[in-house]
């Protein structure tokens, strides 16, 4: 906490409900003016982490620091933090103006100042002229903007956003992602954002925290996390991946799919079983005779920008997912090449971990377009 730059610190925060551990000794630091995203499948504890910082959930163990001051016992209404709730939670009996004014009235800000701030805020979220509308007459996107304005008008040090775009359609969601990032940079406020949508996280965040089962898997910039996933869970959760069994023959040499290939990783030891992760877009396609791997295109699906091919060599077990902007017809034979930096080596997951990964990902894909179940 000596770092004056750190706004929020969680130290060994644990949350248990009826013996179920929702958060397990979580340590997390968020810097001032940072845009941090908590990303993970449902039930990973991301919403609970947000509620801890908002003051709505009490940690069973551990401490929460705000600006270096312990705030475990500070109630939500005394924290310099505001929240954009998942379903907005706008007050239906108040109009747009009154909704945004709510927090300012409670803190007894003079009327002149209130008017000025609300006007600014409405302009920023693009809702000038909507003051007297009833909130249930607004579209989802407009309600979303009111919720953001209602939180930001109080000039919090930290804004918590709980899957705020989950209820919007894809196009609106993309627009709002850019909008949110713009607002955050314009106001210089720290944003802590919760989502299970990896694309959203990659687009907006300065830093992503990937969580699973109440534990942090990896923290880093979007580029770091995408390019250097720390384990197969992260690799699979962020983007699509080929994950296969391999053996580290020695430092910088790995064997998988029946080939020995050079790689950039070392320090695993000799003849150690590992997971090998290859991003589908990292493959280079060439003539069959020139490839390190060769195989028949089993299927080809057009995904908008690229084609997704499934490639398998006759008699070989592995099936490779390949992304390419050039289509190759089903049944044709192609060659595949990897450069050493395309090959990512991870410690092997235990069978239990693997089972967890599968179930977590399945649960998530089911919930993807629905709502996230309560994590409490």
């Amino acid at each position: 906490m000596n770092n004056t730059n750190t706004l929020i610190s969680l130290r060994g925060v644990t949350v248990e409900y009826d013996g179920v551990v929702v958060l397990d000794h979580l340590d997390l630091d968020i810097k001032d003016k940072e845009f941090v995203t908590l990303l993970g499948p449902s039930g990973c504890g991301k919403t609970t982490t947000l509620r801890i910082i908002g003051g709505f959930t009490e940690p069973s163990q551990g401490d929460v620091f705000f600006d270096g001051v312990k705030i475990n016992d500070v109630p939500p209404y005394k924290r310099n933090v505001n929240t954009v709730f998942q379903r907005y939670a706008l007050f239906p009996h108040l109009n747009v103006y009154e909704n945004i004014e709510f927090g300012l009235k409670i803190t007894k800000l003079p009327e002149e100042e209130r008017k000025k701030r609300i006007k600014e805020m409405l302009a920023m979220v693009g809702l000038s002229g909507f003051e007297l509308r009833r909130v249930n007459q607004l579209s989802g996107g407009q309600q979303q903007r009111v919720a953001i304005a209602r939180a930001l008008v109080n000039h919090p040090r930290l804004l918590l956003l709980d899957e705020p775009l989950g209820a919007l359609d894809l196009k609106l969601r993309k627009e709002m992602q850019i909008e949110l990032k713009r607002i955050q940079q314009q106001l210089g406020i720290t944003f802590l954002y919760v989502t299970h949508d990896q694309e959203e996280a990659l687009t907006m965040s300065d830093r992503i925290v990937i969580m699973k089962n109440g534990e942090i898997q990896q923290m880093g910039t979007p580029t770091d996390i995408y390019n250097e996933p720390i384990n197969a869970f992260v690799a699979d959760f962020i983007g699509e991946s080929n994950i296969v069994d391999g053996v580290m023959i020695e430092d910088y040499l790995v064997e998988f799919g029946g080939r020995r290939l050079p790689c950039l990783d070392g320090g695993f030891g000799k003849n150690v079983k590992v997971d090998v992760v290859i991003r589908p877009e990292d493959w280079e396609i060439c003539k069959p005779e020139n490839g390190q791997f060769r195989g028949i295109v089993k299927s080809s699906v057009f995904k908008g920008v690229h084609y997704e091919l499934m490639v398998q060599a006759p008699g070989e077990e592995e099936e490779w997912m390949v992304h390419t902007i050039e289509n190759h017809p089903v049944g044709s034979e192609i060659g595949l090449i990897l450069t050493p930096d395309d090959i990512h080596i991870m410690n092997k997951m235990s069978p239990e971990e693997e089972a967890e990964l599968v179930s977590a990902l399945e649960a998530d894909s089911i919930l993807e377009d629905g709502e996230e179940s309560d994590e409490e």
Binding site: F56, P76, Y77, N82, T83, F91, I106, T107, R134
Partner: protein
């Protein structure tokens, strides 16, 4: 059947239903102007029963008692019932269901059971029958109705509204007053109105706990009928009917106007 015949039968049906409901009241109102004590014959128009009514102290006292009991008991029941509903809603599922069963019990059980048991309770504790006992009894049977009309509103409410209010700086009390209360107000008002009318109307329970001095109107009228219904009662009933009718018409007109406003607002939006 042709359309015309069809509408004739349905009109006839409506007419018969209306006649069954309102003919007795009409007869009562007519007889309240009858210049004879007997119910059988019409002896000319008079308003003397209305004049007598204003002089009949026992009736006026009973009317006053009824109003006091209705106002106090429905206000107290509304406060208690609303608080109870908020508490019940916050409970865990099993406890909530348990409490709700206890809440339904007095509503389901015959009023006479409530009346007799309340009477025994007061006797056991040596409380003399008075307006106080009537009010306590009315609060008791009204609380469940308030709970039952407030709870659905609480259930409909976005459960994050309360947290949103606290997030914006409200203490829990402020959050309740500024956000929760306006949300559940329609339920509270309808609970209050139900309690008020039930209290005005109640005979069974009041009969057992009112004693000699604290008779409410229904109890008094019942005791009079054992001899003979005085035409003054007709006059009083006619007045009550007209008052209720007026209130109903006013609230309905209000509703219609509000709906029109809402539609206008909706078009603008």
């Amino acid at each position: 059947m042709t359309k015309k015949q069809n509408s004739f039968t349905s009109n006839l049906y409506i007419f018969i239903v209306m006649a069954f409901m309102y003919l007795p009241i009409l007869v009562m109102i007519i007889y309240s102007f009858n210049d004879s004590k007997s119910r059988g014959a019409w002896a000319g128009f008079t308003t003397k029963w209305y004049a007598d009514l204003l002089q009949n102290e026992s009736i006026l006292t009973a009317l006053w008692n009824t109003l006091i009991v209705a106002v106090i008991s429905s206000v107290v029941a509304t406060l208690l019932g609303t608080a109870a509903a908020v508490g019940i809603q916050a409970m865990k599922k099993r406890n909530r269901e348990l409490i709700m069963n206890f809440t339904y019990l007095p509503v389901m059980s015959p009023e006479i059971v409530m009346g007799v048991s309340l009477m025994l309770l007061f006797v056991m504790f040596g409380v003399d029958f008075s307006l106080f006992t009537v009010i306590v009894a009315h609060i008791t049977f009204n609380v469940p109705y308030v709970i039952l009309s407030v709870l659905p509103k609480l259930r409909q409410m976005d459960k994050y509204l309360f947290e949103a209010a606290m997030d914006l700086g409200c203490t829990p009390l402020q959050a309740f007053m500024k956000v929760m209360l306006p949300e559940i107000m329609p339920g509270i008002i309808s609970g209050f109105l139900i309690a008020f009318t039930f209290s005005l109307d109640d005979f069974n329970i009041s009969y057992f706990v009112s004693g000699e001095r604290a008779q409410t109107l229904p109890v008094l009228i019942y005791s009079m009928t054992r001899k003979r219904v005085s035409p003054e009662i007709n006059a009083l009933s006619a007045i009550i009917f007209v008052v209720v009718l007026t209130v109903l018409i006013i609230t309905n007109l209000n509703d219609v106007r509000k709906e029109k406003q809402l539609q206008k607002g909706g078009r603008r939006g």
